[in-house]
Amino acid sequence: MTSGPKIELGRRYRFAASHRLHTARLTEDENWRVFGKCNNPFGHGHNYVVEVSVSGDVNPATGMIANLADLDNFVHREVIEPFDHRYLNEEVAAFRETVPTTENLCFEIFARLKNFPHAKLERVRIEETGNNSFEYSGDTIVGDRERDNPEGKRP
């Protein structure tokens, strides 16, 4: 066989959670203008789908990049259990200061999964609804994203 393709294993997981898009850095009026109905003080929820892709050598003895049971256990422990049926703004520490947009969920979930011991995390893709999705591959995001610049100061 020649060098062959690069192979990734992809797995989809689900959790349901509520959130509110709101930041203390903006006034009430500005929050409403920026976030619209997502700023509703009572919050709202989504059925999230988290698609996790990992890569690595396929073990000839098992035919697998990683044992699915290992991946499932890891993702459940790191993401599904702490996120499912929770209010993200209050119950996930990262979102007490950061707006729980799906972009920021990508960063948080990637950080929680990147140390999976049995394969390399390639990508996290999150569907917030069936009509919108967000992907993060761990690239350095250049710019003034909140996570790189939590005080909101210009570099």
């Binding site: 066989m1 062959g4 393709p5 192979i7 992809g10 396929v58 035919g63 697998m64 699915l68």
Partner: protein, 140 residues
Amino acid sequence: MILLTRKIEFSASHFYHNPEFSPEENRRVFGKCNNPHGHGHNYTLEVTVAGEPDPATGMVLDLKDLKEILEREVMQRMDHRHLNYEVPELAGQIPTCENVARVIWNLLEPRITQGKLHRVRLYESADLFADCYRNGAKAV
């Protein structure tokens, strides 16, 4: 560059068993996939070809040609087959999603002569899939 994707579905049976493992080890590693009677899936295959459209036809490649390649290389080999016993390219390999996707990549790659094979994505179920990319290429 344009990425063009065609999807096909096939149904096949398989089971996971390594003859070098003990029966206990086979059960521990492969779980219910080790059932020697086998089980089956409806596989969905997405084949993505990258290229520039031909100025005369506006096509990266003719979808009819791609359909025929997929019929000959994948459907006739794998549809309603037992992957452990009936697909010579998988002989000696555990027919996991990763290995089946790699076999499909290796079958298709030399056949796609207009444009270049960019990605093979094989869904074993809606929640489990394997992707193959050209080695060294950036996943998109």
